[in-house]
């Protein structure tokens, strides 16, 4: 039975008791080269629409592309870091299709001759290592950006008109394509998430991209199909496009497992199509149907000379690769003295670099981990953003801890400083000054407050005078209340005892 069976969503656990997911991930990484892939226009994000453009990236008649050597270098470094072979000779190809935001109506890409191929990346999830095989990493140019105006959905259907911004057209992209990923049990969505996360760490370590998922400079297509457990026949896949956070990669995979299982359980067939992921609901909806008839009419790009990186250059680039993320993680764990669990939590929260930078800025490993994984993780979660997207820097965190260490703040006040920094009130010191949060250690003010507390609580004072020192807590509480928490508790206790004993 086939046809338009939609089925109902099946819980992931249940789906995975009957089906095994087969995934393929395609990650597009926008390179941070100064200029575009094939011309000298600045390759920067944003800017007034259509200001960073020239005849080449606008595809005007007669304009010719010239390959950006820096982009080739970045592509090779990514390939090497992914343990790929680097082509001795490769070409660009034209991928011919129509889209209004693609100025030439073909995309200059690589097809059967990628610059890097046959690599792998080891991904750690909950202490297990999974090897993700990389089929290829190839170079291509980004397209322009369409904005469909006046409709309810922001999509082209129903829009009154569309605006085109070609600033992004021609920005260099590396597309990294995995071979099929088959992970036993319920780990597939987590492995997908961890892969993208680790890939982001890698390109950041290489310095080849700013990898901002919120700006689309790193985006992932999640291809997923299900096959009955024990079967070797691949199911029909769906392709969820442009997923733009780690969390969404995992959620998109989970949703598609549920959806496919529902269709298959109901006896239907999954339609091969692209799908859009919706952050708000965690669901996907159909994009365009991707039939086998789609024909890009690839052929070698005749306007570009072939790319033939010398072996000496490749080896030179290999020699300057940064430490691989997995090795770096092992090294940092030893340096920081974290347990396996602590390290896993840190990595899982996407906080490795943040913790490392906070330690570099002077905090202890324990303090750095404490703030990022408790206080800040909670706030990131509430705001549904990645930790790194919070408006606070590792240096800020280290400074706040330093203020705690020198007695200027306690933990409770420190939380208020975090509030202030995140709210854009300035640096930690500016927030402390602006909100008047510093602990009062002025003996005069404290002594007066202590005297008032003794006066107001004569019974308690008598108990202390009688040697029941433990009763001091009640007076400390009263003083702290009066001082709105901004007193050094140890100092207050010292003053009380000196008055009454």
């Amino acid at each position: 039975m086939t046809g338009n069976v939609t089925g109902t969503l099946v819980p992931v656990d249940e789906a995975l008791s009957r089906y095994a997911p087969v995934m393929g991930l395609e990650v597009h990484v926008e390179l941070n080269t100064a200029t575009k892939m094939f011309c000298g226009c600045p390759a920067v994000f944003g800017g007034e629409p259509n200001t960073n453009v020239c005849p080449v990236c606008l595809g005007l008649p007669g304009a010719l592309p010239v390959v950006n050597g820096k982009a080739v270098e970045s592509a090779i470094r990514i390939g090497l870091a992914l343990n790929c072979e680097i082509a001795e000779w490769c070409r660009f190809a034209r991928k011919n299709y129509f889209y209004p935001d693609m100025p030439k109506n073909f995309q200059t890409s690589q097809y059967d001759e990628p610059i890097a191929f046959d690599g792998f990346m080891d991904v750690e999830v909950e202490g297990e290592t999974y090897r993700i095989e990389i089929e290829r990493a190839h170079m291509e140019e980004d397209t322009g950006k369409s904005s469909h105006m006046g409709g309810a959905t922001g999509r082209i259907h129903g829009a009154d008109y569309s605006l085109l911004d070609y600033n992004r057209a021609g920005i260099p992209l590396i597309e990294i394509v995995t071979r099929t990923i088959e992970v036993p049990g319920d780990k597939a969505p987590l492995v997908a998430r961890a892969y993208v996360q680790q890939l982001r760490d890698l390109v950041l370590a290489l310095g080849v991209s700013d990898a901002r998922m919120d700006q689309g400079s790193l985006r992932c297509d999640v291809n997923l199909s299900l096959k009955p457990t024990g079967s070797s026949t691949l199911g029909t896949r769906s392709e969820t496009k442009n997923v733009n956070s780690f969390r969404s990669v995992e959620r998109a995979a989970r949703y598609e497992i549920s959806r496919h299982a529902g269709i298959l359980d109901a006896g239907g067939s999954v339609v091969q199509e692209t799908r859009h992921f919706h952050e708000d609901t965690g669901s996907t909806s159909p994009g365009r149907e991707k039939s086998d008839a789609e024909d890009y009419r690839y052929f070698p790009e005749p306007d570009l000379a072939p790319v033939a990186p010398s072996r000496a250059w490749v080896e030179e680039l290999r020699a300057t690769l940064p430490e691989p993320p997995v090795e770096r993680r092992r090294r940092l764990q030893a340096e920081w003295g974290f347990s396996d669990l602590e390290m896993r939590d840190t990595a899982g929260a996407g906080a490795m670099d943040l913790v490392a930078a906070t330690i570099d800025a002077g905090a202890t490993p324990a303090a750095a981990r404490k703030w990022w994984l408790s206080e800040l993780a909670r706030r990131a979660n509430e705001a549904e953003v990645e930790l790194a997207e919070l408006a606070i820097t590792p240096a800020d965190v280290a400074r706040i801890q330093a203020l705690v260490d020198d007695g200027s703040l306690n933990d409770k006040l420190a939380r208020q400083v975090f509030d202030g920094v995140l709210a854009g009130e300035g640096t930690p010191d500016e927030v402390v000054a602006g909100r008047g949060l510093a602990i009062v250690s002025d003996d005069g003010a404290l002594t007066e407050a202590v005297d008032r507390a003794i006066e107001a609580n004569p019974g308690v004072a008598d108990k202390i005078r009688d040697g029941k020192v433990a009763a001091a807590g009640a007076l400390i509480g009263a003083v702290m209340k009066e001082m709105r928490g901004q007193a050094d508790a140890a100092k207050v206790r010292e003053l009380i005892l000196s008055r009454l004993t």
Binding site: G62, A63, P100, R297, F299
Partner: protein, 501 residues
């Protein structure tokens, strides 16, 4: 020298000499050609656009600089006409197509930049078959150009406008482009010299692409020396064209002045003569061979068996690239925009279809469809893939031949100029016009056509020389020798009869 008729009768080198000697001024020369265009181009239609103001401004500037004692380029002040496939700031660039009606590019082709830097007044833009597709200039959307030797006949194509302009003395020099013979075949049909340099020897930047891997700009002139002088100005490496050769222009001017064939080994290509070649064409060719032999050249027959498949190969490779290169003409950003009749609120695709329907002529549509088919999946290997293999065989035939001889020789075109309209409804007959010129484009080797006298019908015949890659100077040497031998025989240059408007 003030008689304007005399000025237009001079070759480019003669004008340059007269300017250098102070016998005339560039303004005088330029005005003489503009006057002649005004009085004679009505009967020829060599030009699509004449830029009298721009040309005279350049001429005046050169005269001023010369008077100030500046050292100027050899051809400074010598006017030139440019095929309307090259982008020109301030002048329309239509490519002979309605789809670019009125488009004025915001940039110059590198070739045009070099003409300007050399101080050459640009008279205007010459007519061509639409997007350089055709062998008669009848596929121009703006009407055909007529052959100055017989205005009921075609001047050949696609560069019929440039060839007719030079032949009718409406310009001393012109720039053409040659994808399958579009400089050499019209050269043969109008009694002018036409050169296709080595592929990559002259920048393609700013030349609206027909078939990128085959297109090559080159000079159209009345003498071999003029062609060499113009070649020297146009040629050389261009960082904006990644297929441009990073080497100096071969010593073409020196070779054109030398013209010595004693000891030169010439191969006559068996496959490029005989059956299908007009008897008068064959006779003039045989006489040229005899003259060269008498002058000390060694002439042998060589066989290039793959040339028999060259035409078929060309008609797969060329339209494939055409189908991709012309995809950008979608009425979105520049050029013609037409709306479908009887459709309220048409979609972007409907507007695009209507614009292309109105904007492209039959020959262009024919080639786009052929190319789209040849590249489509399932047919790619059989057509495009096979064509690429034959293309390699053609190159190998050249290599083998050039191991035996220094240059190759053949008639340029199988017939003399044919009547307007004769082959318009028979594309295959039209395609045969380029049977002898196409192998050079497939292999990238340079070729030169020069007039070899008149056939029995009183119309010019061309012979072509072919040389190995980057040995363009050999063409000029051999052609200069033959040119001198022919002039001795004729007692002066052959010129078409005067035509009035």
């Amino acid at each position: 020298m003030t008689n304007t008729a005399d000025l237009t009768a001079l070759s480019g080198a003669e004008i340059a000499a007269a300017l250098a000697a102070g016998e005339t001024t560039s303004v005088e020369v330029t005005q003489a050609f503009l006057d002649r265009i005004a009085s004679h181009d009505g009967a020829i239609h060599a030009y699509l656009h004449v830029d009298a103001d721009g040309a005279l401004a350049t001429a005046a500037d050169v005269d001023r600089r010369r008077a100030a004692g500046e050292v100027l380029a050899t051809l400074a002040g010598v006017p030139v006409a440019v095929k309307d496939l090259l982008c020109t700031v301030g002048q329309p660039t239509t490519c002979g197509s309605r789809i670019l009606d009125g488009w004025v590019p915001p940039y110059d082709a590198t070739v045009v930049t070099r003409l300007r830097e050399a101080g050459m007044p640009i008279l205007g833009k010459t007519n061509l078959d639409e997007f350089a597709m055709g062998s008669s200039t009848e596929h121009s959307a703006y009407g055909p150009t007529r052959n100055p030797w017989d205005t009921d006949r075609t001047p050949g194509g696609s560069g019929g406008g440039s060839a007719a302009a030079v032949s009718a003395r409406l310009a001393p020099l012109a720039v053409g482009t040659d994808t399958g013979g579009s400089i050499r075949q019209p050269g043969a049909l109008t009694g002018t010299v036409g050169v296709k340099p080595t592929y990559g020897g002259v920048s393609r930047q700013g030349i609206v692409a027909m078939a990128s891997s085959l297109d090559q700009a080159g000079p159209v002139t009345r003498t071999v020396l003029d062609a060499a002088l113009l070649h020297q100005v146009m040629g050389g490496h261009d960082p904006l064209d990644s297929t441009s050769i990073d080497a100096p222009v071969p010593p073409v001017v020196e070779a054109a002045r030398r013209g010595d064939v004693a000891g030169l080994r010439i191969g006559v290509v068996r496959e490029l003569s005989g059956e299908g070649f007009q008897s008068g064409v064959q006779e003039r060719f045989d006489e040229a061979v005899a003259l060269l032999t008498a002058a000390g050249a060694t002439v042998t027959e060589v066989s290039c068996p793959s040339f028999a498949q060259a035409l078929a190969t060309y008609y797969l490779v060329m339209p494939s690239e055409v189908s991709s290169n012309l995809a950008r003409f979608d009425a979105m950003r520049y050029g013609l925009r037409s709306f479908p009749e009887g459709v309220d609120d048409p979609s972007a695709e409907q507007v695009m279809a209507a614009s292309r329907d109105a904007g492209f002529g039959d020959e262009v549509k024919r080639r786009i469809i052929l190319g789209t088919y040849a590249l489509s999946s399932g047919y790619y290997d059989a057509y495009y893939g096979s064509a690429q293999k034959v293309r390699a065989l053609v190159a190998a035939d050249f290599d083998a031949a050039f191991a035996e001889v220094d240059v190759l020789m053949s008639p340029t075109a199988p017939t003399t100029a044919f009547p307007l309209g004769e082959k318009l409804d028979d594309p295959l007959a039209m395609y045969l016009q380029d049977v002898a010129t196409i192998p050079a484009n497939l292999a990238g080797v340079p070729g030169l056509s020069l007039p070899a006298g008149l056939a029995e019908d009183g119309l010019p015949v061309g012979v072509q020389f072919l040389a190995p890659l980057q040995a363009d100077d050999r063409l000029y040497n051999a052609a200069a020798a033959l040119e001198r031998l022919l002039l001795e025989q004729w007692g002066g240059p052959l010129a078409p009869p005067e035509v009035s408007r």
